[in-house]
């Protein structure tokens, strides 16, 4: 019985982490149709920001929840101004350029910090369920996923800012005619996506190995989730991360973590073959 409880907790945690890792990408891809292959490096920068700040004596919660999103959001802002804004509407070029960017960021971080860095301890400690142990931090990740869902939902649906953003993505010409500067909306949306990605990076910093190349481990997962989810930001990425996160955890439990991933990716390829528009293209059409 206990094993199922632990498995359930792991599934929740897997789904929550996957959602956090992909929601920033979902915003950037779903709203702006920019394929950001440097997404993994944004996660890596978030993790590094947390680690560097914590090692410099900043409280770990402040580093994770404030410094990481702010730092990566700023990086995203700069990148949007110098690179991405020349690439709107050039899908293939945006993929190539952001891949170049991902190599560049990896190279810069390796040059500054070397190939390894001292990690941070997982805060909050653990608890026992029968013969198995789990950590409160897993529950915290789940809570953070709920918070992010709430923030995105409220901002996108109930604020003027979200309305403007959604309108600009649907019809930039029309919103420009109504006195909105689409250029600025794109800039801020990209930065917001980057900041959420930075937050995810900060949150996984205590529970993952931190190297300059760590982004590669996440970029495929995040992309497959966003593509499987389709264009609806919240419902799509939520549905896809629930599906893939559960399959990953249960598959890993039944076989090995590597084959768990293989099962996830195979499922994803079959899913895209069956639903080329993603889950939300079929089931949650026109929703957020």
């Amino acid at each position: 019985m206990d094993i199922y409880l632990i498995l359930g907790l792991n599934v929740l945690n897997g789904v929550a982490s996957l959602f956090l890792l992909c929601v920033g990408l979902a915003i950037i891809f779903g709203m702006m149709k920019i394929v950001n292959l440097a997404h993994g490096e944004f996660i890596m920068l978030g993790a590094y920001a947390t680690v560097v700040a914590t090692n410099a004596g900043v409280n770990i919660w402040i580093s994770m929840l404030v410094i990481s999103p702010l730092f990566v959001g700023l990086v995203g802002l700069v990148i949007e101004r110098f690179l991405i804004r020349y690439l709107y509407g050039r899908l293939v070029d945006s993929m190539l350029a952001t891949w170049g960017l991902s190599l560049l960021i990896t190279g810069i971080v390796t040059t500054i910090f070397g190939n390894t860095i001292k990690g941070v301890q997982t805060p909050l400690g653990g608890f026992q369920v029968g013969g198995y142990s789990s950590s409160y931090y897993n529950l915290f990740i789940f809570a953070m996923a709920l918070v992010v869902i709430a923030i995105v939902l409220v901002v996108m649906r109930y604020t003027r800012l979200g309305l403007i953003a959604r309108a600009t993505m649907q019809n930039p010409g029309m919103s420009a005619a109504l006195g909105i500067n689409p250029d600025r909306v794109y800039m801020l949306t990209f930065a917001a996506g980057a900041a959420l990605t930075g937050l995810a990076g900060g949150l996984i910093a205590p529970v993952s190995g931190i190297t300059p190349g760590m982004g590669a481990a996440y970029v495929a997962k995040a992309f497959i989730t966003v593509v499987g989810g389709g264009t609806a930001i919240l419902s799509g990425s939520l549905a896809a991360s629930s599906l893939f996160g559960s399959i990953d955890q249960i598959g890993s439990y039944l076989t090995t973590p590597v084959y768990g991933q293989v099962i996830v990716f195979t499922t994803a390829i079959i899913l895209i073959r069956l639903l080329p528009q993603g889950i939300s293209g079929r089931f949650f059409k026109g929703q957020l």
Binding site: V35, L83, Y86, L91, V92, D93, M95, L96, A97, W99, G100, L101, S102, L103, L104, I105, T106, G107, I108, T110, T111, A216, V219, A220, F223, I224, V227, T256, V258, Y259, Q261, V262, F265, T266, A268, I269, I270, I272, R273, L274, P276
Partner: protein
């Protein structure tokens, strides 16, 4: 230039290249010959993407999947058969079959470019992870231990066809690798000049129009993709022959990125450009590897960004433009008028 003189010029260039290849072992140290062999095998890999992306319009972010599969297939078969002849056949067949399977799921699903890129990237990562996880005695195919993260050392290199007792010397390895590069290049040129090549390009230019003319774009793309996969597999076998060693790094994302960089730098839509790009970039990477000041990723990333943003055409097409420009200036002849583009026609004239 008439068609005949162009053909003659190409044949002359081919003869020059073959003579140069024959001369290399006599003029260079064995170290340089080995390095050139590596570059030639990478150039074959570059040709595989140059074909499917530049002429088929299929942007595969995971051409290393086929490269790695070819390399592993060669290694496993060579260890089991103790003869490289059937092993090379395996190195071409296994990735080709894998390309058929992957291509069926993607092209027949009518998946867009972006999703195709993401899927090929993902497949490469899966293979990388799987290859990494095969350490331990229980992972073996026949006599071949897969070796996980450490890879497979001491893979038999090429031998004379059907004669395992005569392994090839490094110089002969160079002839085989450079010969394979020339052969693949000629094969692709012939293919592209023929009917199938024209259909491939037609599908790339306008899928709807091609299908209205009665061609099945899905099938055409699948065949082109499979040819690309087979060539990449051959490159994998040539690579293993160079180092007598294969590790999961053959599937790595950084190699995938490098292939894209070769093609982008050399010039998309040409065959010779990516070959030049591969040799140039690999030379730069190996020079960077011997010092510790700048990181290779940093340079590769900067190069890719530079070419995508500022020199999108790539080296070879840009050079062609410059040469044509100089040619016309030298002759003081007016340039041939460019075709009036859509933007040049006055608005509302339709």
């Amino acid at each position: 230039m008439t068609k005949n003189t162009a053909l003659l010029a190409q044949l002359a260039a081919l003869v020059v290249v073959i003579v140069l290849i024959a001369l290399v072992p006599g003029y260079f140290e064995i170290f340089t010959v080995m390095q050139l062999t590596l570059f030639a095998s990478m150039a074959v890999l570059a040709l595989s993407l140059a074909f499917i992306w530049g002429f088929g319009g299929i942007l595969s972010f995971g051409q290393t999947a086929f490269f790695g599969l070819g390399a592993y297939a060669y290694a496993v078969a060579a260890i089991n058969f103790q003869d490289s002849t059937p092993a090379i056949a395996c190195a071409i067949l296994v990735p080709a079959l894998f390309a058929v399977a992957l291509g069926y799921f993607t092209f027949y699903g009518r998946i867009s470019d972006v999703y195709f890129g993401v899927i090929t990237l993902t497949v490469t990562l899966i293979l990388f992870n799987v290859a990494n996880s095969t350490s331990g005695q229980e992972y073996h195919i026949g006599d071949a231990q897969l070796g996980g993260f450490n890879g497979m050392p001491a893979v038999p290199t090429f031998n004379a066809p059907f004669d395992p007792s005569t392994p090839l010397y490094p110089e002969q390895g160079w002839y085989v690798t450079a010969g394979a590069l020339v052969a693949v290049y000629i094969l692709l040129r012939v293919l592209l000049a023929g009917r199938f090549g024209r259909i491939v390009v037609a599908v790339k230019e306008n899928e709807t129009r091609a299908s209205l003319l009665g061609y099945d774009p899905r099938l055409i793309k699948l065949v082109a993709f499979t040819i690309g996969g087979a060539i990449a597999g051959l490159a994998g076998a040539l690579y293993v022959n160079w180092g007598a060693f294969i590790s999961p790094n053959a599937f790595s994302l950084s190699l995938s990125a490098e292939i894209i960089i070769w093609v982008t730098v050399g010039g998309l839509g040409t065959l010779i450009g990516p070959v030049i790009g591969a040799v140039l970039i690999e030379y730069i990477v190996s020079s960077i590897g011997s010092q510790q000041v700048v990181n290779a990723n940093l340079v590769l990333g900067a190069v890719l960004l530079f070419f995508v943003l500022l020199l999108r055409r790539g080296l070879v097409p840009s050079l062609q433009l410059v040469v044509v420009e100089l040619w016309h200036r030298a002759r003081r002849a007016p340039r041939p008028k460019a075709e009036p583009s859509a933007a040049a026609t006055p608005a509302g004239s339709k």
